[in-house]
Symmetry: none
Subunit: 209 residues, 4 copies
């Protein structure tokens, strides 16, 4: 179910497992140290192999990054899409997404850590861009999708700049995730999301005339 989508029998049952461990270790380091500062050696050390062996599984460091990206983006936005099911207004959908992001953050901080860094890394290392094409834009597509649905459901005033709203939602999610990552404490993400929820339901400020 969670397979990477490759078909056929894996050579010895070990090869696919090694590949998975490489991607996992890579994500942790990419998320924490960034693309440039992550060395093949450290990834290899985590996996228990030598740096050269990585090249049996990917063709280059950039491709490794791309492979991690595909895996991670796919699972994250799939989670998000599941999270919004059953919520029918935009705010509660967004709130559900934030909450799901909390869970992911708690389960494995490298997931959100990696995702929120992607945009910056691709800007910093343009050679990564080409390799990320298959999944690129999924972030924006997801939030644009939410906003479009809300607009078509008559939820939004018609003069609202819909791309700007999607940008805003994405930025809030990203900002919170980064805050939690740099604070090194997932709890603060959760706490901030709770405050945001109270803002949504009007119980944050004492009165607004």
């Amino acid at each position: 179910m969670t397979s990477t989508g490759r078909v056929g029998r894996p050579p010895a049952g070990d090869s696919a497992e090694t590949r998975r461990r490489i991607l996992y270790a890579a994500r942790i380091h990419f998320a924490r140290d960034g693309y440039r500062a992550t060395t093949n050696r450290r990834i290899a050390d985590d996996v228990g192999i030598t740096p050269g062996a990585i090249y049996h599984y990917v063709e280059s460091k950039a491709e490794l990054y791309a492979a991690v990206y595909c895996d991670t983006v796919d699972s994250v936005y799939t989670e998000f899409e599941l999270a919004v099911v059953g919520h029918d207004d935009l705010l509660s959908q967004f709130s559900a997404v934030l909450r799901r992001a909390c869970d992911l953050q708690t389960a494995d901080p490298s997931i959100t850590g990696f995702i929120v860094a992607v945009a910056q890394e691709t800007q910093r290392h343009p050679d990564l861009l080409a390799l990320l094409s298959p999944q690129r834009g999924r972030h924006m597509r997801f939030f644009t999708g939410l906003v479009e649905a809300a607009a078509q459901g008559g939820e939004l005033r018609p003069d609202i700049d819909r791309r700007a709203l999607a940008d805003l939602l994405g930025a809030v999610l990203t900002g919170l995730a980064r805050m939690a990552a740099t604070a090194g404490d997932p709890q603060r993400y959760t706490a901030a999301v709770e405050v945001l929820d109270r803002f949504f339901d009007g119980s944050l400020v004492t009165s607004r005339s």
Copy 2:
């Protein structure tokens, strides 16, 4: 090679001016490419000097980063402090800050780009931490200050987690700035802030029963 290759003092080297240009070029590269991927050579090329000449102005690359940091943090938060003057509820203060951040972003994207990356860079390169101490925490202090003032003004429900609220505000600002930086289009920052304002004044959604 790009110059005449002559050695010795150039005709009219204005030291303070050169230092300023180094810090400026450095901020642009640090903001766009990150600490690690920014090379002394590229900064020097921008300024029109050789990499070694940078060491007349700072003692190391890390100290260069620190110098840029001090300059930039100081000017940004001074701007923010000026921006909130005359606004007396938290939301309008926050809105004013976002708007001032828009201006900064438009005037020179490297300012906000640098600031929002600081937290991550210090995590990735812990040796930077020691050099940043003088100004460290100014970000949190600023937002904590706003929230505390609102709390003491009776604006907030007393059971609100104040640190979480400060985190939230900071995260929204950071998230928007990063979005704009990676989009490469300051307009999107402005547009998103406008949407947020409409959310604050209730004119975003058609109705909330």
Copy 3:
């Protein structure tokens, strides 16, 4: 450039052999040019590799020095300890040591050249000190040992400053080795030792009234 420029593992790289050749080349350069003036490039050129390859065998230039030190000190003082066996008065022991040092000097001038420079190098580059600890002091221990044995054998007047005597013996050995090294002619070491022997047995001066 000197080679084919190909990359990858060479046909028959014998790791232990390469390490040995690195240490050997390093000793020659350290002995002749000193720690500072010895460059990784020159060592690598001698071995037929590139400077970076040295870092497969040692972690830094300082550690390379330390590795050479351990190897060399160990073999030299082991030789000296063997040389004194069977001689039972201090002078003849010392003479035997000098003669053994002649042999070493003739066989490979870099051995004694390196050893006599160690004390100065560690003074000039204090960061080397920490790395040399395992073997440090072996020089003094050796001569102190000889002197103590002579003292306990009743060979020395009791009012003799034993540390000063050990210093003297060490200084004579060192001075001779250095003289030979800078003269570039091991023969002169041998000749000087012969003169010293004649001094010991009284056949140097015609008479002393």
Copy 4:
């Protein structure tokens, strides 16, 4: 009296003094850190000028070394020549030289420290050799002179290798000075010389049959 031998009125009384201070600071650093590790900046700092200013007094670092060399060698061997006056056998002359070296060592360790390093430095940096020619060989000439005189006075057995004897005497002096320099304690030089004197007068060992 102690002038550097330049004739004519010094420009302002200050220039010659500055030059002297440069040479003095240079000797200290050359003696302690070696030629390579001594930087113009450190010398300049000691003198209270900037590195560039050194080039008003010497044409290059190598020439600075040469200038220090001339000054120092001249004064040292002049001292030695004065020291032997009045002693008429080789051993007591040598002993007098050693004692005078003690005094110099105590008065200013950089004097002997510099001298004993010269031979090695010239080997390590052959470009220095050409600049040292005027005074080169004065070391050997001094000891050769002593030995020749002793030989002609009938003091030595005729079959003694006179160059080897001169080498030996020089090596002992050099070895002792270096020992003291690396020990960082001039006292040990003095103590070792005293032991050597006792060896000369036969009061070191209890008996020699």
